[in-house]
Amino acid sequence: MSLQESASVTFSESPGRIALRTLSRDKRSWVALTVLAIIFLLALFAPVYSHFVAKTDPFASSLDATVLIHGESKPVLEPSTTGLGLGVTPIGPTWSTKYFLGADSQGRDVAARLLYGGRNTLFIGITAGLITIVLSLLIGLIAGYRKGWVDSILSRLLDVIWAFPVYLLAISLSVVLLTSGLTLGFLHFGPGSMALPIVIIGVVYVPYVARPIRGQVLALREREFVRAAVGSGAKHSTIVFREILPNVLPSVLVFIPIMVALSMLTESALSFLSIGVQPPSASWGTIINDGLGLLYTRPWVAISPGLMIVLTAAALNLYGDAVRDALDPKTRARSDS
């Protein structure tokens, strides 16, 4: 393709289309999307696996259950027969349909819980991440565009949240709300509700996203095309949604996978500390917690959800990098050359 042809193609396409094309050519994005798709599918089919493959209820204790291994019936919780005969050890990975990854201390199928746990972790991660993005965008746009006292109030509010270390704030809020529940207007979330970690995580990260958006809006507000729109008498909503928002969106899009990954990690941390997802529900964090007491004998109980978290977070970050590069003209130019 000649330089002239290339230039004509480039100028005839919108920036979004160019970014999409670049993204589709990026191998990193395909690797990340493939990994994420597999994990999402596994989580989606958790009930199918649990019901038809493992044939177990992953939320009920099965301390007296037995499992057939190579035609031999074995207790899921095996009493020690050596030495003083102390202790009861959950069965390890059978690598077969039942108890594929072994059992936890309650005799529950770890593989089935891992898939169900993935559903919760991913759901909370995505929902909380999106709440952060939406709230941040709203606050950033309003504060940056309105400036003055509105900006002062919103910025100080963000400062207050920012003043607390994010995990400390999330833990404190979780501990308090976990006992009392949360009422937001007509909405009430009970003490064990999954909405609690979603709201908490969604809120604590807002300053980290809203601040840069606000800064960007402040800069955009002084640009000629915005001034021209103001001068031509355009409505505030038109200026914000037609002139400013499209220029902020690339940054927001880059933030999405990063915030989902961060929210997922925070959820896992809270659940690990028993202040996130509540039993008998599972998340990858709660399963790591379950496995903590079995590290010496059944390390897979803790390792498997840990691996899932690492894989998902890495895939999301990889995809985030690819999105950023696709949306950044400088990086794109470098990669084109």
């Binding site: 007296d64 009493p79 020690s80 030495g83 102390l86 201390s105 003490p191 028993s274 079995l294 010496y296």
Partner: protein
């Protein structure tokens, strides 16, 4: 009368002890403590635990963790013997010169205070300290004030108005003769044992009139507390004013210092003991380390039976457990064998469902809540849960679908118990949640009615070898104090008719212990018809000591004798 009372203690203790002789390495064949061997004196004993056990005030603290230490630090007029086997429950004179002279139909106990015993601050113990100490039981609202010491003349007024407690008529002292007379409103067959537990120790009259918390109260025993930080450590050193006056009651200790460090996870505790960085681990050994220590460290593991129980108090005053059918449903539903598995297996615990533990005075082998049994026609022993009956009872009670929060301590074993119970309660129709809270506060939290605890998981280790210590203390009306952290009757159960029978059994015990124990057995079965609690299993004590630790001695009363450990 005096002989009778003594006979009760001896018979009960001997029967119990003979059936439950644990592993010991430092006691003579007759169960008495071996003579002191100076060659092994010295060194520092290092104990480790995940958390402290709250207040260090011996009149308020009601945990096995600190009672184990109080034996080496504080003394009462009487004490349980530093013995094993048949002497483990023997009450011996401690600060008193001899066992009391009992008169007036068992209602008057006359002691003579030993002369020359000094507190760790150098001041001599006087009869004024004795009187003040008994009044202090009520002033600090000791958890057993209403259950152990309510029979002292004047105690009723003290319970009503603790701040102005005056036991002038109940504890009469004579500084001239060092005499102490304790007057009771009624004869009490377990009074000697009650006077031998830490809540009856003698503190200086100047000790604070409220829970001392972390303030260190001068001691009389072989050791004194040097410092206490509940988040860090508790340090005990030799009491400079201690001179052994009774080898049975308060023997000289071996280590120069006993350091109790907090904050180590149970698994880190095991590793510390394995590596000789600690001498003993307090917390239950984590499930995934049991097999390891049971095979690799056989000689360092000591397993001893206990007169104790793990049980689930159900609040009879709030829904859903204000309905007897709901409580009975829980009793039928829990799989006690499963709970034993969570605890570590059959080598470490055994399922039970009677309130009085096996081999305990008054115990009867029965189980009203098992497959094939009913409270009216109980089976001999627990065999299996009956989920169908449990579900039917929940349905009949009209409480199905109600939310139930299970309050458990946040250590691994308790949390697992909570998760298991949640599964059981959900399976019979409730919407259960687990509420793990710090082991530092769980025991007092579940006692206070303000916290509206519906059901919890807790343990009870005997204070003294008498049925009243279980039934009267845990389920008697006098042990229920609304809005108080010291309300050991966690179920809030108060049945006046049964309370009257308990009083009758206590009185009968003075003259006819066999008939009294028979009555206690009947009371046990009657109480369990109301099912204010669900008894799960009776545990065994597993002590894991380092290879450098010698002279392990176990007593059913205070478990391992910390002061007798040798590290030199």
């Amino acid at each position: 009368m005096r002989r009778r009372t003594m006979a009760i203690s001896t018979i009960a203790a001997a029967a119990l002890a003979l059936s439950m002789v644990g592993s010991t390495s430092g006691s003579a064949a007759d169960g008495k403590l071996a003579p002191y061997d100076k060659a092994h004196a010295g060194g520092v004993v290092k104990l480790v635990a995940a958390a402290a056990a709250g207040t260090i005030d011996p009149k308020v603290n009601y945990t096995g963790q600190y009672w184990q230490l109080f034996q080496a630090t504080y003394d009462g007029l009487l004490s349980f013997s530093y013995g094993t086997g048949k002497t483990t429950f023997e009450v011996v004179p401690d600060l008193a010169e001899a066992l009391p002279k009992i008169s007036n139909g068992g209602k008057t106990l006359t002691f003579k205070l030993r002369k020359g015993v000094k507190f760790s601050n150098g001041k001599e113990v006087t009869v004024a300290d004795v009187k003040a100490s008994f009044e202090r039981i009520f002033k600090v609202s000791s958890p057993t004030a209403g259950s152990f010491y309510n029979g002292i003349v004047g105690a009723t007024a003290c319970l009503a108005k603790p701040a102005t407690c005056d036991l002038s008529k109940g504890v009469v002292v004579d500084p001239a003769t060092n005499g102490v007379v304790i007057n009771l409103t009624a004869a009490d067959d377990a009074i000697l044992s009650k006077l031998a537990v830490p809540h009856a120790v003698i503190n200086p009259a100047s000790a604070p009139s409220k829970d001392a918390g972390t303030t260190l109260i001068p001691t009389t025993g072989a050791y004194m507390f040097k410092s206490y930080s509940p988040t860090k450590s508790l340090i005990m050193v030799r009491n400079p004013y201690f001179k052994e006056w009774s080898h049975d009651a308060q023997p000289q200790g071996y280590p120069d210092e006993i350091d109790y460090n907090f904050g180590l996870t149970p698994t880190a505790q095991v590793t510390a003991v394995e590596n000789n960085q600690a001498n003993w681990a307090y917390d239950p050994i984590p499930a995934d380390r049991l097999n390891e220590i049971g095979t690799k460290y056989v000689n360092q593991v000591h397993v001893n039976p206990l007169t104790a129980m793990w049980y689930l108090p159900m609040n009879v005053n709030i829904a859903p457990f204000n309905n007897v059918k709901a409580r009975q449903a829980v009793n039928y539903a829990i799989d006690r064998a499963a709970m034993v598995k969570i605890f570590g297996g059959t080598q470490l615990a055994a399922p039970v469902c009677s309130f009085l533990p096996p081999n305990f005075p008054g115990h009867v082998d029965y189980c009203g809540y098992t497959k094939g049994g009913t409270p009216e026609k109980p089976a001999k022993a627990w065999t299996a849960p009956d989920l169908e009956k449990a579900k039917a009872l929940v349905k009949a009670s009209g409480t199905a679908g109600q939310p139930v929060a299970i309050v458990v301590s946040d250590d691994d074993v308790n949390k697992q118990m909570g998760v298991y119970l949640q599964s059981v309660l959900n399976s019979i129709g409730y919407k259960a949640t687990v509420k793990p809270i710090s082991g530092n506060i769980q025991f007092t939290y579940i006692q206070n009615t303000k916290n509206k605890v519906q059901i919890s998981v807790t343990q009870w280790y005997q204070d003294y070898p008498a049925a009243s210590d279980f039934l009267s203390v845990l389920l008697g009306c006098q042990s229920f104090t609304p809005n108080s952290d010291s309300s050991i009757n966690m179920a809030g159960y108060c049945n006046k008719a049964i309370d009257a029978k308990m009083a009758k059994a206590i009185a009968l015990g003075v003259t006819d212990p066999t008939a009294a124990n028979k009555l206690w057995g009947a009371i046990d079965q009657e109480v369990m018809k109301d099912a204010p609690v669900a008894v799960a299993f009776t545990p065994k004590q597993l002590d894991f000591i380092s290879s450098s630790t010698k002279n392990y001695i176990f007593s059913l009363q205070y478990k391992m004798f910390v002061s007798q450990l040798q590290v030199k």
